[in-house]
Symmetry: C2
Subunit: 120 residues, 2 copies
DNA sequence: CTGAATCCAGAACGATACTG
DNA sequence: CAGTATCGTTCTGGATTCAG
């Protein structure tokens, strides 16, 4: 069992979660799902330019983590619906906290980057 | 100027910030600096096993973003001290929010992963 | 002590074509 | 429709060595 505060431990929960939400499409997928279930194509279109292989990887990881459910309907054409689990929904809050901070500071960050680059 | 909510925009602030704190050592470095300035070696030892090149990259990016200051003392041997800027300190709160969520759910995530793997 | 230089392995991401 | 298969590129992180 993992013990809190063990930041040196590679299995540190914070690191695992940051690894996950830090990849390119995971956060976006979760935020897209916050208002209800979506099909594969709806997620793909909502995200924009993402290769189907990569979107599948993203969703499989979320499913494996217990954050998203995947429901397959045996129809023709097939229909697959993704939805957040309760744990997935609980992730919205911390994600929004980071998102709000980001939106509030992105202009300052961009400015800082420009100034830094000008000195180099 | 970036407009909020434009999640499709690759320059989306949320994406930029998640990219940054999602890399391997950035969050850890910021958290280590939250209680005061540290030298290069202190950060390296605090993080554990990290190549100097990678730690330098991490700190340079944070400096470029305006989140960390780098102060060089012209001594022998040289001394370089890193510290959080006000904006860097303001990042502690959202980072802690995510960290808390992670610590609260990491056991559930590990369990979900084990169950998922058992079915595949 | 603080890093810069170099080389390397692996992962992430992407483009495209194809299938049940 | 919802993927899988394949191939290729780019990026990240790591090990090691050397320098001011």
């Amino acid at each position: 069992m993992y013990e809190r505060g063990d930041l040196f431990n590679p299995a540190c929960g914070t690191r695992v979660v940051l690894d996950r939400i830090g990849d390119k499409w995971t956060a976006l997928a979760v935020l897209l799902l916050q208002h209800g279930p979506l099909r594969f194509t709806e997620l793909r279109d909502g995200i924009g330019r993402v290769a189907p292989k990569v979107l599948t990887q993203t969703l499989r990881r979320l499913e494996r983590d217990g954050l998203v459910t995947r429901e397959v309907f045996a129809e023709v054409p097939p229909r697959v619906v993704y939805a957040l689990t309760p744990m997935g929904r609980s992730l919205i809050t911390p994600l929004t906290t980071v998102s709000n901070w980001a939106e509030e500071h992105i202009n300052a960050i961009n400015t800082a980057q420009s100034q830094y680059d000008a000195t180099v």
